[in-house]
Amino acid sequence: MKTILEVEHISKKYSLSGINKAYQTLSGSMADFFRTGKTEKRDFHALSDVSFSVKEGDTLGIIGRNGAGKTTLLKIISRITSPTSGRITGKGKVTSLLEVGTGFHLELTGRENIYMNGSILGLKKKEIDKKFEEIVEFSGVEEFIDNPLKFYSSGMQLRLAFSIGAHLEPEILAIDEVLAVGDSLFQQKCIEKMTSIVKSGRTILFVSHNFQALKMICNKAIVLEGGRKVFDGSATDAIDYYNNEQRLQGQTINLLELPRGKYAGELIFSKLNFHSVSFQNGEDISFSLFLKTVNNTVNKTNLILGANVVDRFGNNIYHVSNILTNQPFTHSADSDEYRFIIKNNLRPGQYRLTICLTINDVVQDFFTELIDFTIEEGNPYGFSKTAFIQGMVFPEFTIRKI
């Protein structure tokens, strides 16, 4: 079969002095100018020497942790950003769906937003005209199509947004994680739609943490780690490889280096130790926190440590804290370890951790959505299609006929 996309030795380097500040100010860069020689410019390699090729009709999954370079890779292929070096050659039109609903405007009606968003995604007006009915029907918001978007619920907005994305028909489609939207029935509908796109012979690049969807959609996959390609093969093998790697690697985050909000800060978090950032379904989520005394005079009794587990949409799924069990701690030395063990019945997916430390109701330190961790595919019931289960958590249950 013909090669449709050839990626050769792609690297992308960001210079951190530019990124950290997000943007420069004139005074800042003038100050830098006078400090010449001393300005530190650390480089960050988002991608290093990544090569692979995609044949016509292949669907390639791209797997990796957050920050592994998956999105950067898609952005380069779809020309949103330029590579620092390397070369990509391809045939046909590339369309990227890195986010659904980009360019949605709340003042415009659903109809107007379909045209606006479709056009941003590279559709011609004629193509949108042709698919309009289908898009509206798929989204299920027919009744409201001529109302301004601000009157839509967030679920309706998402469904409309995805419906537009699902009706793109370029030769090469690059999709980033967008299947993670909506309730699971709609997700299922989307996966089916995607599978039919695949069957129509289009080439798809697909970034996702939803391994079940990935297995259904992709025949091949690459695994990225720290900007390098570490595995290239069939989708199933790539997922196995990734899961094994994940289990082996714990992760320690040095919290002293991170920017933090303005809190009392007399006693602060110093380290977060995750034994693994990927948990099996039902496996206890465990991690440890270490603290650092900044102000020695602080009263170190009555410590309250709290942690929230937050899903991708910012919903607090779990809130655990020693205040709930009425067991305040006394901090004796900075080597003290505070270990959390949380029983889990979360549905598979990506979650984030928020941590908080208070002493006598004064917030000492606080990090929101600090680390991403994964609950792997599967469910406690032995049901074959996890994606069909709609709940946010999978509780133990019994249903008996009496």
């Binding site: 020309r79 415009l108 056009s119 590279g122």
Partner: protein, 277 residues
């Protein structure tokens, strides 16, 4: 879908500054961005599009009272109200066009980061919005001309006036693109721009005629401002006064110069946009 054999190559250097073929390819998006901004701007306002001419109209009334009636400013043989209104509608293309296109990169940063299209489309569409406002206020302008019985020579009007608008547009795109590209790196531009434009209003012959400047050197220095030429030419379109083609030529050349500089600066910064925006 036809098997298009359009191959593409992406590498570190594969962008051109003003790729007309590509802009043509994305012309519908250009239209949609402009359409969105016009729609959103006037949606939910009580007076809707009438705002586009209420603003210059009220400004004209005020200027006419103070500078026309009370201070008796010279006005190139035109009623002062017509004189000021001509200046204002041309000036507004520039002032609103530059502010909007200067901001366009930052206000659309979310879209830039997630989608590919020639970035130049954003400042261009912002200028189209200003041009739309101009066309709306032009309707009122025709009414004002009839009211004051200013009946220009048709041929002269339809050659001079479009030329004036062209100079204004080229200047606006050039300046807007510079501000747009620079404000990505330095957000200072966003803050300082409205203020600078206000200052520029005073060195542009909007409320006074450039012919009122008797110092010859200053006269030519002021015509380095392309908007000075554009406005003078627009006024000349309404009268039978002789035109000083030297200053029109100086202004037009400056407009082209600013445009080229703008495109070069934009090209240099285009690749940074999605990383920094």
């Amino acid at each position: 879908m036809s098997a298009k054999e359009n191959t593409f190559v992406i590498d570190a250097e594969s962008r051109t500054p003003l790729n007309l073929a590509e802009i043509w390819e994305f012309r519908e998006l250009l239209y949609f961005f402009a359409w969105r901004d016009i729609k959103v701007k006037y949606k939910q306002t009580f007076l809707g599009v009438t705002w586009a001419f209420i603003q210059p109209f009220l400004m004209m009334v005020v200027l006419n009272i103070f500078f026309g009636k009370m201070l008796h400013f010279p006005s190139d043989n035109l009623p002062y109200a017509v004189f000021a209104f001509t200046g204002l509608i041309i000036w507004n293309i520039f002032s609103s066009g530059v502010v909007n296109s200067g901001n366009s990169m930052i206000t659309n940063a979310v879209i830039i980061k997630k989608n590919y299209f020639p970035r130049i489309i954003l400042p261009l569409s912002a200028v189209i919005v200003s041009l739309f406002d101009f066309l709306v206020s032009f309707i009122l302008f025709s009414g004002v001309l009839i009211y004051f019985r200013v009946l220009p020579d048709i041929l002269r009007f339809f050659t001079f006036f479009p030329l004036a608008i062209l100079i204004a547009l080229v200047t606006t795109v050039g300046t807007g693109v510079i501000i747009g590209a620079m404000s990505i790196r330095f957000r200072d531009f966003r803050i300082v721009m409205p203020f600078v434009i206000q200052l520029l209003l005073f060195i542009t012959p909007v409320i006074y005629p450039i012919s009122a400047i008797s110092n010859k050197t200053l006269y030519y220095v002021l015509s380095l401002n392309p908007m000075a030429g554009a406005i003078s030419l627009a006024r000349a379109a309404l009268t039978h006064n002789p035109v000083d083609w030297t200053i029109i030529f100086i202004s037009a050349s400056m407009a082209v110069f600013i445009f080229i500089i703008g495109m070069l600066i934009f090209k240099k910064n285009e690749t940074l946009i999605s990383d920094l925006a």
